[in-house]
Each structure stands twice: as structure tokens, then as C-alpha cells.
Amino acid sequence: MTTAQSYDVVVIGSGPGGYIAAFRAAENGLKTAMVEREWLGGVCTNVGCIPSKALLKNASVVRLLRDAKTFGIELGGDFKADYGAAVKRSRDVVGRSNKGLEFLIKKHKVDYVPGEAKLAAKDTVSVAAKDGTRQLKTKNVVIATGARPRVFPGMEVDGQAVQTVWQLIVDERQPQKLAIVGGGVVGCEMATVFRSYGCEVTIVEAMPALFAGREDPKVTQIVTRAFEKQGIKVLTGAKVESAKKQGAGARVVFSRDGKQETLDVDRVLVAAAMQPNTENLGLEQLGVQLDRGYVKVDEKMATSVPGIWAIGDVANTPLGLAHSASAEGHVVADAIAGKPVHPIKYTQIPRPIFCNPQVAAIGLTEAQAKEQGLSAKVGEFPFMASGKARAEGDTEGVVRVVVDAKYGEILGCHIVGPEATEIIAQVAPYMALEGTSREMMDTVVAHPTLAEAVRLAAQVAEGEALEI
């Protein structure tokens, strides 16, 4: 054991919540350490956001090539799409992201401490690494330990035939028949990857709709139909009883409409839910309160114990997204530094889903607005009516803008279709700056772009549409 070092802030976890918290704390003049037990950059950089986007890019290239004839390009017979090469490319992308982070850690003068952290006391983090245990004395601890795929009883994850996304995403073997347990964000994105590579894909979802029925019903319906058209089987209302290795492959047993069914595949992805990493941190001993398994925090990300803070997937905040974790990292670093903090408005954070067609949403759906007693109106613009979408040959989808009937406040926006995850970016500032449908309609958007569809949807909401 070496002598204890003394910090203002020790951040446990180096994901997009943790590293932003650490960098911002350091920029705020606080002496900061960041502890990481497994992957620098966390799930996002290593087995989440970034590698999955690399795989999805490969998948879109495969689809484009398959569709080459539409553009008058003859490839002269079938082409070979090497899935293993796609995984290698995605790992390369991850490697470069890791390098970038290492640079940033040095740049911000954050002490990077690899190892498994545990709170020995309120002011002491002990870090167990291969080369021994170190004690870090600190005034503040930020728990940014994230979450992991949740495995329900009956699902026997062996890492080969039955995998979580963390295992699947680094596996260079291409499955021929894939069952995906859970039609959420991870399930739908992976369905797109593997269907694009020609796998038989079946999504088994317990809820009555994809995305657990949380997104706009029309958007969800369009995705479901598109999936089915692409050959992705979507079984909703199907409760998985077991998923386990069977011979060279795996078998999923589920019940639907009171009947038991089986599905034999060569791979199963278990992507039903996530669970927070709160174990073995010493939180119980210090009396840190939990809320349904997540660390309970206030608007400043403070836990029930002064000096201990929590952010990201481990905290009981509404969204489990990389960028909401980063926003929380920013808030916590400012709160620790005693700077004024603006509480995060979670309804103003976009929720992207990178399946094909892409989905992106922000704020309330029409139904949620009505639940809150708001009188909302919806303007819908189909990409079919967008010149750019037609030129791109990608006209599936709609933009739905939810507008408060009284003041025209932008309550939400729901997009399914080409570049939805990019287009949604223009809506967040209107909400953050409290622009109304008036400003949205008065702001000119370049033509021809897919982004025009948002403004046109606002015009539809206000009954001022000219182009549809």
C-alpha cells in the first residue's frame, strides 16, 4: 500500500458521465482522479454507442450495395460482405476513441487510476489493482459506475451461444439465425446490423410494442412495419421463459397469447434491460440511499450522503443515455465547485435510436402531453413529401411535432426516417431557449434538406402548411 493521495474529487467510472465530470472538475480547479476497473471510456466508447455505430455504418454500406441497381450500378453478381471485418473495423474505431480519451486525461491533468474502487470511508476510496491497493483521500466522490445488461432467470448467458451485447459486439462470428430478447434500443439496433448482413433475425419483446411502448405510437408502428418488410420478425407480447445453449446453437422458449413457443437459432442476444452497478462499492455501509436499485440523487446529483454524488446510468435520473450522463457530469462538477447549477431538463434531451429506419425523439408524445393536462396539437410531415428524401431514395418515415395549443410551446418532436438522429438536433435549442412554433416556422431552413421536415411539420401543427 502506497501513501494516500489527497483529492478534491474522485470519480469512479470513466464512461461519458465520469470523464466529463472529471474533466470539468479539473477545469474548475479541483484536484481530480478518475478510477476505471475495465474499459477506459466505459460502455459507450467500448461496447456501446461507438462500436455499434461503426457496425451500423458497415450495415448501411451493405444495404446500399445490395441496392446498387436502383442507382444503375451493376456489381456483376453477388458481393461478399465480411462481418468479421466489420467487427475489426469497429474495434479500430474504439481503439482510436480510447487514445483520444487518454490524450484528454493528460490534457485536463486528471489522475487516471486503473482498478476496482470501493468507498472505504466517506473520504477514502480504495482502489484495488493488479499491483496492489491504493487509498485515495478525497473530499468528494462521484459514483459514475454505469449499468450492465440485466440477465433474467432462465436466460443462461454463456458468452458463446447466448450473449449480452457486450459479448456480441466484439464477436467476429456472424450468426445465421439470431434471436434478440428485448425490442428496445439495443435490440433494434442490433437487429438492423445483422439483418443487413443477411441473418434471419427475430425480436422477442415482452411489451405490446417495440421500445417498450414508450415512444410515439405512430413512429413505433412505422419502425415495426419497416422491420417486417425487411424480414425482421417482431414478436411482441412474447414473454421469454428461457434462453439457453442447445446443441451447436441455442433455443429460446417464450409464451405468447397463452401458448408456449420455441425458437431455435444459432445465437441469442439478451438485451431486455439494464441494471445499475451499485454493488461492492461500499454504498450500503455509508448509508447512501437507493431508489429501486439506482442511487438516489437530487437536482445537483448529490446523494443522501454529503460529499458523495452520483451520475449517469447508476443514478435514478430519468434517462439512461450517454449524453444525459455527460450533462450530469457537467452539473456535478459545477455543483462540487460551488458554481451555480441549472438543473437538467430531461424533456429537452434527444433520444436517438440508430436502427433502420432511424428514430429520434425529444420531449413529450401527444399522449404524455395530454396526461399532463396540456392541450397539445400534432403536426405531421411525411418524408414522402420531402424533395431531398425522394432524391436520396429514402422516403420512409415522418416528423411529428407536438405543440402546446395555447402558446405554441414546442412540447416534443418524434421522427422516424432518414437521418432522424441528426435532424432532431435542431429541435432541442427551440425547447431550451423556449422558442415557440412561431419561431420554428419563421426560421428558414436550407432547401433541399431532410431537416426542413421539422419546420414543415410545425407549419402543419399550426395549420399554415403550404407544401403538403
Binding site: Y407, G408, E434, G435, R438
Partner: protein, 428 residues
Amino acid sequence: MPEEIVMPRLSDTMSEGTIARWLKKEGDPVKTGEALFEVETDKATLELQSYHDGTLVKILRGDGSTAPIGTPVGILAKAGESVDPSQYKGGSEPPAGRGAAPPAPPQDSPPSGAQRGTASPEPPAPSAQPTAPVPAGAAEDVRASPLARLMAEQNGVDLRALAGKGSGPGGRIVRSDVEGAAKTAPRGAAAPAPGGPDHEDRELNRVRQAIARNLALSKPGAPHIYLTMEIEMDAALALYRQLNEVVADEQSRLTVNDLVLKATALALRKLPDLNAHFLDEKPPKLRVFNRVNLTVAVPGEQGLMVPVIKDVDKKSLSQIAREAKQVYGRIRSNKPAPDDFQGGTFAVSNLGRWGIDEFQAVINPPQVGILAIGAAAPQPVVRDGKVEIRSMMRVTASVDHRAADGVYTADFLVELKRLLEHPLTLVI
């Protein structure tokens, strides 16, 4: 935060005011309710009172200068605040001396007399003429979100009062600030100006448009129609006496006019097209108000004054009585509150006290109606075939025929009569 003293909007027709003279000097202590300066409006010269205790640290517009409403004319540091007057740009214009304030030269004529090198006093620089009256609360120079602006406008919240104190970045006013202000605003203070919220603009239908066009040929301006009705006031007078026997304080003592005001307001709720402004635009519109703010004709020192009593339909008789007394008091002492002249939706003129039996009043545009009230006097009337003595009051409605017809106006008078002849309807 030091308070900006702004040119108040003292009447619906006022778009700018001239500072006749400052009654306080820079550095003078000021108490709430003390007069700061005299304003010459298109109607009268009025004193503007301070709403805070503090010190007048800076005069931005000197004696004789004209400023559009809403323009800061001075800076008041509240008690305990220290302010560096030099941080305020513009500076006071040279005082032109009491009574010697030369009018600003018309913009399109060259300044006369004030040649360089002569000893003649320099006329105050012509202030920028606003192209349109600044609507109260628009406050373009205040940092606020579009949503906050819209909510402020529709809820009668003056954004200038929140300037720099918003909870957004850099003090930007956001939704929650306006919501907070709307909740805590004192009654009346949030009174929306006409042209602001709480109304529905309705284009005239084709028939009304034709009526408006044709009638303007024989009676230009607002073509008046006059309808007179006799109302039996015995029950109302009995109630008024009864109520006055039990009033809590002198301030709440009713006058007959208070009953008339309340009845008028309730009748307007039923016949709302008279509670409106006629907007002579293309196409012409009728702005029908949701609030009933009655303009009452009051004799002032220099002539007729028309203060406004707000939300008369929603107030109790004693509240109307108290507010009317306060308003009349402020007018008589020449110290009206800035919003005393704002937001009138219909007018009532009562010459009953002077024994006038009946008269016809002139509409105060852009309002579309005014009610002229005569004296309630004992008259022989026929009841069940017999002659009886009853207190009869003659009321005459003058209505802009472009906005409403005789039948609609008659319906209004019938409702007014019903209310006053069954006066308990005014208390329940």
C-alpha cells in the same frame, strides 16, 4: 437592482409624454407615493408618483423632453442600494427651465433660431418619434425567451419589471419567471393594456362591413345610434339604502352609480359585442374583450377625465365602491396611478347628481359604446291601469353602429333594466 423610471402610459390614446418638470433633483431622497415629475399627455398634466423608497440617482430625460411610453426617463436606487450614476448613458438633457420648454421642432422642418454661435437656447434634441405606440409589456430590449414574451403579453405581465432578474442564463426571463410574476402580481397591476391579451379579434362579417361603409358616408367617424330606456329604480334605491346601513366603513359606502356600474358590467357579459373596441383597419375588426373594464367619466380640474375601473363584473359592490372612491380621489388630487387610464372596454357617464334627466354621450373611441345615466327621479307611471309614483331613471346608450345594431343595443338595455329592477342579482 436600481429601478428604471419609465414614461408611463396614462391613457389609451397616449403614445408619448412630455416631462413638464421634474419635482425631484438628482440625489434627492424619494418616498413611495411622492411625486417625481409632471407629465403632459395628450389629455392633461399629471404627476407621476414613485413606487419605491429610494434616491433619484439620475435623470435621463430632462424637463421639456418628450419620450415614448416605456422609455426610461430616470433611475431610482432603492433604499440601501448604491449606484454609480455615471454608468447610465444618455445623461440628462439640459433642463430647459420651468415653462420655457420649447416644443420639439417638427421633424420635417429645419430647426429655427438655434444657429451655431447664437446665444439662443438650444432646443432639446427631437426625440425619436415612435412609429407606433409601444404596447405595454412588449419591452423589446428586455432579454426574454419567445415563450416568456408571449406568456407575459397574454397574462398582462410587464417584462420590464423582471428585466435582468430572470432565472435563465445571464438573467434572461424564461417561462417560470413569468409564471411566478403572474401569480404574485397584485390585482390590477397585471391589467392588460387594450390591444394586449384577453380579447378576441373578429373580422366584421360582410353585412357589418357594408353597414360600416354606408353609415360612415352619412356620419363619418363612429356613426352613433342612441337608444333610451326608462328604468324603475325603487328596488335598487331600497337595496342601496339597506346596504349602506350595514356597510363596514365609509370607504365602502355605495352610490347609486356603483349599482349602475355593476349592472352595466353584468349586462355587457351577456351582450359582449358592446364590450369592445372597433379597429378601423383593413378589414375592420371588432376586438371583443373578456374583461369588463369600465371607463367612468369624472370631472377633473382641467376638464373631463376618464379613469378605468377594472373587472367590474367580477367585483362586489363594496369593492367597486371602494375602488371608485380611490380612483376619483386620485383624479381630484391630480395623482393618478399609471394604469388608471388603461384598458377601458366600455364607458359610463352619469349626470344624475346634477339633476339631468336624460342626455346623449359621445363614444370614447376606439370603444363602441357609452351609457349616459340621468337622475332617478319620482315620476308618475301607469302600473296595472293606475297611476303610481315611481323613481324612474333614463339611460341612453350611444353605440357605434359599425359594431352593433339597434336591436342588439336594445337587448343590452333590456338586460340592464332587468338587473336594476331586480337588484338582488347584483349582490349574488
